[in-house]
């Protein structure tokens, strides 16, 4: 359940950041898309991290009831394992189990090199933002700029603000801020960009 909330919040936060930039005309499809995306993300996380698929395959094998799709499923599981295991630095989400241990345990101390690394990434991000802005991609300019800003922001949140090592509640709290912000923007936009234009006949 924790995972569902976790991934749901990430999906929602992403939607909240991207909806305005894809244009409000596209708003509803994007919102639906984001909802679907986060749903898929949730399902994936359940399969990947709680080993549902693994158990299913094991179960099937044990009962000897293996159908023709079993090899397919096994392939999928392998792909998931391959994706999950390498120590990718971007996978902020993968570490939430640790959060629970912190309620009573020692505070997590992030070593200085990590901080330096994050600083360098942030500076690099700034350079990219400015550099990209000099090139005209049309409407994509905003999208790229916000994308880079979001990446920078998530580094600040994850490492400087220790959210990566924090407990679930604090993450839910912070995510809810973004979620309700999205509500404000989505519903205001739902009004402002669907108004009928009144034309004078004389």
């Amino acid at each position: 359940m924790d995972l569902v909330i976790q991934y749901g919040l990430y999906g929602i936060a992403c939607a909240c950041i991207f909806v305005p930039f894809f244009g409000f005309g596209l708003g509803p499809p994007v919102v639906i898309g984001a909802a679907l995306g986060s749903f898929i993300g949730n399902t994936y996380s359940l399969i990947a991290q709680q080993g549902i698929l693994k158990n299913f395959i094991k179960d099937k094998k044990e009962t000897g009831n293996a159908g023709p799709i079993l090899p397919l499923l096994e392939g999928a599981q392998k792909a998931i394992d391959g994706f999950e295991n390498p120590g990718s630095s971007m996978k902020v989400e993968a570490h939430h189990e640790e959060g629970h241990n912190h309620e009573s345990g020692e505070h997590h101390i992030i070593p200085i090199p990590v901080y330096v690394g994050v600083l360098l990434i942030l500076l690099l991000g700034t350079v990219i933002t400015v550099a990209v802005a000099q090139v005209d991609f049309g409407a994509m300019n905003t999208v790229i700029a916000m994308l880079v800003a979001t990446v920078k922001a998530s580094f600040v949140l994850a490492f400087f603000m220790h959210l990566k090592y924090d407990n679930l509640m604090n993450r839910v709290i912070f995510g809810s801020g973004f979620f309700f912000l999205m509500l404000l923007i989505a519903f205001s936009a739902a009004d402002i960009f669907t108004r009928a234009s009144v034309i004078k006949a004389f």
């Binding site: 916000m146 600040v156 603000m161 912000l181 923007i185 936009a189």
Partner: protein, 242 residues
């Protein structure tokens, strides 16, 4: 947070908490809740900004060309660096190294001051040019540029809202309304943040924190990172995206 350091060098938690860790977790949750309110408060401004930007794109395009990207970029770097030193300030407190912690925190304050000085130069330049919010706006050149920009746009890109050039000239100061309100509110937070950091610096220097108890540093740090976070979004929105 009524924690006191006793003579034997240990910290006592307030009477209604079970232990120091319990108190630390509670305090941190409180700070995070407050951060949510900060996000939502600035969020209101972002919502308004995005709505008007999509309604009156030309004003925002021309407006952003009036801002100095160089100064904005320097300020971004300064704030990011300050976030880094703030994180170090917490780190050294966690490691029981008050001296280094004080250095890191003082550096943070210096960054905040640098930020405000640069902001001051930007502001005075704008005010000098009359590029200020509606009531005091006095820069016909800017309005003319908006009009020229719209005239140069291909006809199929014009919406009814922006094709009324006289009206667009009249409402052109809107961009600087946003600029001053958003950066002004942010600058106010920078000042408050700097004062709070000063407060924890003094407490650190007096040896009132250590690896057992550094909650105020952590809380102020979170606030400071939020200030940084907001600027990370403000900078491209105001200076770069036109």
């Amino acid at each position: 947070m009524s924690t006191v350091k006793t003579e034997d060098g240990h910290f006592h938690h307030a009477h209604h908490f079970k232990n120091l860790n319990h108190q630390y977790d509670s305090a941190k949750q409180g700070v995070w809740l407050f951060m949510v309110t900060e996000i939502l408060m600035f969020g209101g401004l972002f919502v308004a900004y995005l709505i008007y930007k999509s309604l009156y794109a030309p004003i925002f395009h021309v407006g952003s060309s009036y801002l100095d990207v160089k100064m904005g970029s320097i300020n971004t770097v300064v704030l990011i660096t300050s976030s880094f030193t703030m994180a170090l300030g917490i780190y050294f407190n966690q490691k029981n190294k008050p001296k280094q912690a004080v250095i890191a925190l003082v550096l943070t304050i210096l960054c905040a001051l640098t930020f405000m000085v640069i902001k001051y130069f930007e502001y005075s330049h704008k005010i000098h040019l009359g590029l200020v919010p509606g009531k005091y706006f006095n820069n016909p050149e800017f309005q003319q540029k908006v009009a020229d920009f719209i005239n140069a746009m291909p006809i199929e890109n014009l919406t009814p809202a922006i094709s009324d050039i006289n009206n667009m000239k009249k409402i052109a100061p809107l961009y600087f309304g946003f600029y001053f309100v958003m950066t002004g509110l942010h600058g106010f937070h920078v000042v408050i943040g700097a004062l709070l950091i000063l407060w924890v610096t003094i407490k650190t220097a007096r040896g009132q924190f250590g690896s057992e108890y550094y909650t105020p540093v952590e809380g102020v740090g979170l606030f400071w990172h939020i200030v940084d976070l907001i600027w990370i979004y403000l900078f491209p929105l105001l200076y770069l995206v036109g």
